[in-house]
């Protein structure tokens, strides 16, 4: 304890050892103040909040420096819903003792929740408004407002008090009792609440007494019908027999109730249920439809891909067939290999080698309709670089060069022999083959003309004689051809009528062969340079 005058620490003496002030009364005041504080603390612990407020105020009137009492007073105010009063006490406490003051924690807790503080403030404003309504006589508005206040701030004791008073004024004693009972749970020994509660109980009792007196004409409530007992300050009147009436009306009520229930079910519940099911079905249908559309789109795309892949497959198959089929490149390489092997093993079998080479070009010509349509001879065909490799073309040219002249000579010899044996058709075929292989052979052409003439085909004979005379004037056969033409190939014909008929039958075939031979000669001249260079290259490689 410190001296109130100089602030010096006091001793056991009744005066201040520093300034000499008499502190006897001061000691008694402080002691009394502490007693009030203790009393307030005990009351606060048993929720006698209004009593605690009185004690703590008295304590602070004696000694305003009692910080603990001030903080407790603020806490009690806050519990009673009066936040502003609580904050006021805490602020003053903080001013008196700035350090190590629990008021700091209280204020911080209140300020940390601004929404709660706002709600409390709003409830206080509404309480003030309700009080104004009550003073103006608008009790109904005041009651409504106070109900809102208690929803927002259920601890505001003064709002309970005012609402209880308003209910008492409107003679709603039971409501007043209920509200005041709630208030007494917050502040259990509030004089005003207890006073109003007693008024409410009296009002209730008086009303029951009036009803008991006034119901003599009706069915009287006898002692056997009810019993009364006291619960604290409340009088409980409880009826004994409260069974419902039984009879036909009960059955009718039951039937009506069932009918109403069915009607509600039919008109309200069932349509809503059907609507919900329908909506669900529609949603499912929509989902399925969407899924189906997506699947269809995927299917169309898959079909397109399948078509594209099929087309690609066909193309690849065609390419494979071209390479590996009977008329493919593989087959042609086989023919070329066979021809080369045959030439190396049996160099004298030029006709066999020639036939193998022809089989290559025969396939080529059969594929190349453009070439076959003009009836060009196979040996005059230049191999397409896009189709045949350079090695293929070189080997083919080499073999052809080696074999062609010998094969042509062999055919010419055979044709001459057949001509001498009067085998004209065979002679024509062999000589035509010779001219195809070697279109520049004047000997082959001449004996071909002779064969035609002897077979009675003077037209072709004349054509070939003329060709020899015109195109091979330096040949030894030119003069002989000229003589044949002068003698008249047709008039010299002394063959039989049968031979002429045969000649006419084969005219069409020989025309084509002859045309091919003539075309071959023309093309050979054009490609002679290229073929010679190929052969030279191949010969160089072979060496």
């Amino acid at each position: 304890m410190r001296c109130f005058n100089c602030g010096c620490e006091l001793t056991v003496n009744d005066f201040c050892t520093n300034c000499g002030a008499d502190i006897k009364d001061y000691r008694r005041i402080v002691r009394l103040s502490n007693q009030y504080y203790n009393d307030g603390l005990v009351k606060a612990k048993v929720r006698d909040l209004s009593g605690a407020v009185l004690s703590l105020r008295a304590c602070l009137k004696l000694n305003r420096m009692n910080v603990d009492a001030r903080n407790l007073l603020g806490l009690v105010y806050f519990e009673m819903g009066e936040a502003v009063a609580a904050l006021t006490e805490w602020v003053v406490s903080k001013n008196i003792k700035p350090e190590k003051n629990i008021a700091d924690d209280f204020m911080e807790e209140v300020q940390s929740n601004p929404s709660r503080l706002t709600t409390i403030n709003q409830s206080i404003k509404k309480y003030n408004q309700a009080l104004l309504y009550a003073k103006q006589g608008s009790l109904d508005l005041a009651v409504i407002q106070l109900k809102k206040v208690l929803q927002m701030n259920p601890n505001l004791v003064i709002a309970y008090e005012l609402l209880g008073l308003l209910y008492l004024e409107s003679e709603e004693y039971k409501r007043a009792r209920r509200i005041l009972t709630l208030a007494s749970k917050i502040d259990c020994n509030n004089t005003r609440i207890l006073y109003y509660l007693r008024e409410a109980e009296e009002g209730i009792r008086a009303r029951y007494a009036d009803e008991g007196a006034g119901s003599s004409k009706k069915k009287s409530v006898t002692a056997s019908d009810s019993f009364t007992y006291m619960s604290g300050n409340e009088t409980i009147i409880q009826p004994i027999n409260t069974g419902e009436k039984k009879g036909v009306s009960g059955i009718i009520s039951l039937i009506i109730g069932v009918a109403i229930g069915c009607a509600i079910m039919f008109f309200l519940v069932l349509p809503a249920r059907l609507r919900a099911v329908s909506t669900q079905m529609n949603d499912q249908l929509k989902a399925v439809s969407d899924e189906l559309t997506a699947k269809n789109a995927d299917l169309v795309e898959q079909d397109k891909r399948i078509e594209a892949l099929q087309s690609e497959n066909d193309t690849v198959k065609a390419q494979i067939d071209e390479l590996t089929g009977s008329s493919g490149m593989e087959e042609r390489y086989d023919h070329l290999s066979d021809a080369a092997l045959n030439y190396m093993r049996e160099p004298d079998d030029v006709l066999g080698t020639e036939a193998m080479l022809e089989s290559i070009l025969g396939d080529s010509i059969s594929q190349n309709s453009a070439i076959s349509s003009i009836g060009v001879s196979s040996n005059a065909v230049t191999l397409d670089p896009a189709v045949y490799s350079e090695s293929f073309r070189n080997l083919y040219g080499y073999l052809k060069g080696e074999v062609a002249s010998k094969a042509a000579a062999t055919y010419i010899d055979r044709g001459r022999e057949e001509l001498s044996n009067d085998e004209y058709q065979s002679a024509i075929a062999d000589l035509l083959r010779a001219t195809e292989i070697d279109p520049g052979s004047d000997e082959a052409w001449y004996y071909l003309a002779e064969s035609y003439k002897e077979s009675g085909d003077s037209v072709h004979a004349t054509q070939i004689y003329s060709k020899i005379v015109n195109e091979m004037a330096d040949s030894e056969y030119a003069e002989r051809s000229r003589r044949s033409l002068t003698n008249g190939a047709a008039t010299d014909n002394d063959s039989t009528q049968t031979d002429q008929d045969n000649a006419e039958d084969t005219a069409a075939e020989t025309d084509e062969a002859l045309a091919q031979a003539l075309a071959a000669q023309a093309l050979q001249q054009a490609t002679a340079g290229a073929a010679a260079s190929d052969i030279n290259t191949l010969e160089g490689a072979a060496q």
Binding site: F4, V30, R64, E82, V84, N121, N128, L131, L165, E199
Partner: protein, 50 residues
Amino acid sequence: MIDFEEELKKFHPSPEVEDAESAIRALDVTDMVDLIVQLEEKNRTATTRV
């Protein structure tokens, strides 16, 4: 029976948060110790005059 009007007069508006500052300023914190100090001052003054 309670007198409604008389009872109603006992109710006063509760201070709002906006009024907290003025409520703090208006708070009367005078206590018995202050009175003792004043009395001591008076006694001291009287003694000095004598």
